[in-house]
Symmetry: D2
Subunit: 321 residues, 4 copies
């Protein structure tokens, strides 16, 4: 088994942006085998990734887009630099919140304080203003930490907003559920391991790369994107991120549909490497959506067969007849 | 005076992502006239922008890139939807931290707890692990809130990490300064008003737009970027953001060098409007960097003069001889 | 009446690449009113166009693509330089040949010499090799000149290959018709006048321009073509032509689908003028094919309405609200 | 020795667009070894190329750009279809004309008739109008044929315009030389053989391809050109040519700077093959200009080394670590 995929190894050890009960742990539990594996919470994305780099764990689950617990920019930056890492899976988790209360609280009107993570508070703000207008927000380091504080003997706060998971796994009283303002929101998480053998192509995959902008001139980004577009490769996410070295120095963090084992993606990556040799490959892995719809439609001229025929033709030209 | 610029109006009222003493207030104080104007803190980016929309304040200062206090994604999303807003200025603030302590603490070795915002903690983590390894992080809703809690009679925590501003404006004891891990980091803030007259072009300006992706096909993003590249307009930031309506539905948030009063930018925006008519213009405003270096070099064929000559030529063709 | 269209003016005088009876005259006769107008043959494309420039005639009909009588490159070069000219109409003429013979010849087997233009000979060569293998080709300055030489008292040659028109208009004996090797071939001719008011847009038009290549670098041609492609304008012909000034100095001669009175074409031409200010506009005129099929399909974002809305939006941004 | 290069083989047999003494023969004589080889004139480009296809000759010299004798479109079309052929060399010949006269003519004023090819007449027309205004043009099938007719016992014409070569090789009286209107004009010729081993890359080479337009939509040509531009490959000639099958069906005839043995050209050709699998390769051969100036400057990211590194990197990604 590949040490990087870590998905069905009895001995695999996982870490995640903790504590237990966060949406990130919920994401990890979706990985086959993870429920029975050892799971170690980390207090930050950086420390989770460091555990992977040092070999202390097999892989780390971290949020990468739209997270309730924060850490998205941190994740993008942390995997873009430092020791090489590889994304081996992505997981989508529907974001839905429950309101849990301490012993003694039975009605909304009794709630004066709500301890939760700032991002969770932001996502339930509308509900809170309407239903518990007099409640004060108290920041917690995570939704789980806020919720668990209600179980302490002399709980300092009345209520908390957290994931259904933490409520299920602990003796917490749920007063309301589905209190998020934007029903249907999901957060994207990725499982990050050390570089190793790639998950096989499924036909509906993503490839993540980090591309330092070679030069800050009009069209530099265009040249990068042309490498994808010229091979019919669609992007699902692009972000410019400051390198932190000097203002105006950027890299691009990109998710593209396809797998490096597919010719069109391999050709696009080769083109990118030519114009930005410091490009960092962060993995090809199955898309979280494995429906027919998510399967990219590949025009005939971008199929593996078209690439193979084209290269055979050029080899023939070079060899003479 | 323009109601949107709000920069030198005696009656201008400002809000900012508070509380007082945050880096966001430091950014606001850089706006001419703001130091003497009424300044109202807001508890979230959304509530700050709502105060602008409702007319309660003249303008709001909010972080837009790399913020210590969080709120960057929140800002991008908040100005992309809802009532129309306009960015009228941008400000860069160097991010540097001080360690402040409660009464009675005089040495690092005494510190057991540090109350601060999670983003600030992340940016000083290396320093903390080395210098106060036994100190525990306690989340606060902002760096200023954490620091001010040290002034309470029975301060619950020993120390806080905050901006130099909050330390200066309050009777806080600074034990160490410059404790950030990454010296030289800056955060970008924007002053947001209601749509109104534009700040005049300075030759070194930025224009911010939000562009819904018209169709999710390879090259859709390329078509958008070609509109900029074809007129020699460089981008300084691009981010794809999920619309939140359905997975795979994106918009692009873009900062481009130039002012809508310049022909090349106006032409690029017209091209964008054709392919994505729901494009939202968020303002043209002076770049925070006003050096010669920041002034974009404009090729002859992208000057206002070249555009004027080209349009005059076409008008001549249409009008006959 | 416009001096340049010359299509229905009783006083219009036309010239054409002669002599009478050539395919070029056949093309001219397709122009409404030309049959009753004065028609002056010219001995070369250059002299025909000079008559237009000097005001001696209203317009000249000359071949521009695939001509039997030659002159295509000559035409492209002649209208690309010198005094300004304007194409006001295009005409497609099916190219079909007849074999005419001198008095006394009644069978193919008698034919020893065939006087015709070299281009006509080339297009009937297969037929000739099969049917009159012993006949020798004698070059004539035009198909009509070759044919008319058969009417002279002591005709030096036995036969000629010419247009049906010259056979109809003269007492020439047609021995065979439809002898062209490639049935269905057509030649494209253009009617060239002085710059003046444009023929109105019909919805199925062409625009011809001559574009000096601004710089010989990879992508210079791309930049030119992007101006068309970015507005959904299709090309029906493109040719690089040496300027004749120094080797490697090129201009492009281009036919594009659309009319300068359409916004997408006007915008493309303005873009071209910016990058190659010496661009020469040679007219917008109805396509010879006026079928539903020839009508270019215009995507919503390239319609006049989309352009109008885009420009109105940008004007609104500049004016403030 | 390669049967296709035919440049220094004692047994090589050449044909050319004749008769002897034309500029095309002058071009052939520039090929090393051709002066001593058997040279067979052909009466048309098509028949010259057929001799190559059938194996009757080693190679054929034919005009391809700006020819005095005509045949340029014929050449483009003839090598684009039918049995496969390969260009193995190109030659530039300065086009300069001499006026030769029949016995008995000693002054310009005596000249009443000038027998020459129509293209030659066109290129000396200005000189003729000024210096022999009363002389009549008589078409000849080639410049050489016109000139040689002056040597017949009862020469029918007074003078001819021809190449210096035919005057040198025959007892022709030269009355004036350098009579061309456009001093410095050159014609480009190509030596065409059967497909075989390629001439080695010299660093200043050309590659010729014929590319059927895959689909007639805006941007189809752009997609083709992007394949070149994306690899920094410059074009020196492009022409759209009707396929002759139906109106609006085009192919592109393209000369590009570089050799298929160079990675950037091979990659561009592979890209072209994907989008237009019926592409026809017509050879990589040394540029006629072998100066430093003609050597294309290749950006670092388009060098063979950059391609090799990029492909090695992708292979590494696919193989795992």
């Amino acid at each position: 088994m590949s040490p990087s995929s870590g998905s069905d190894d009895a001995a695999a050890v996982y870490t995640y942006l903790g504590p237990a009960g966060t949406f990130t742990e919920a994401a990890l539990l979706r990985i086959p085998g993870a429920a029975d594996a050892e799971r170690v919470p980390s207090t930050s994305v950086n420390s989770a990734l460091e555990k992977v780099r040092s070999g202390g764990v097999t892989a780390a689950m971290v949020p990468i887009e739209n997270s309730v617990e924060g850490g998205v920019s941190a994740t993008l930056d942390a995997i873009a630099t430092g020791g090489a890492l590889q994304i081996v899976a992505e997981v989508l988790v529907p974001i839905t919140f429950v309101l849990v209360v301490r012993d003694g609280i039975t009605e909304l009107g009794q709630i004066r304080t709500v301890a939760t993570h700032g991002h969770a508070w932001a996502q339930c703000r509308g509900w809170a203003e309407e239903n518990i207008p007099r409640a004060e927000f108290v920041p917690a380091s995570s939704t789980a930490a806020g919720a668990l504080s209600l179980l302490e003997p002399d709980a300092a706060y009345d209520a908390s907003i957290c994931s259904p998971l933490v409520a299920e796994e602990n003796p917490l009283a749920v007063l309301r559920s589905g209190i998020e303002d934007n029903a249907g929101a999901v957060t994207r998480f990725v499982l990050v391991g050390r570089p190793g053998s790639l998950p096989p192509a499924t036909g509906s995959d993503k490839t993540t790369v980090v591309i330092p902008l070679p030069e800050d001139h009009p069209g530099a980004l265009m040249e990068i994107l042309e490498q994808f577009a010229a091979r019919g490769v669609n992007l699902s996410r692009i972000e410019s991120r400051p390198t932190g070295q000097k203002m105006g120095d950027y890299f691009f963090s990109v998710d593209a549909h396809g797998h490096v084992d597919e010719a069109r993606m391999a050709d696009a990556l080769a083109g990118l490497h030519r114009i930005s040799p410091a490009i960092r490959f962060l993995g090809s892995y199955p898309s979280a959506e494995q429906s027919e719809v998510s399967r990219p439609s590949v025009a005939r001229h971008n199929t593996d067969e078209a690439f193979a025929q084209a290269h055979a033709w050029v080899r023939g030209l070079r060899g003479g007849s």
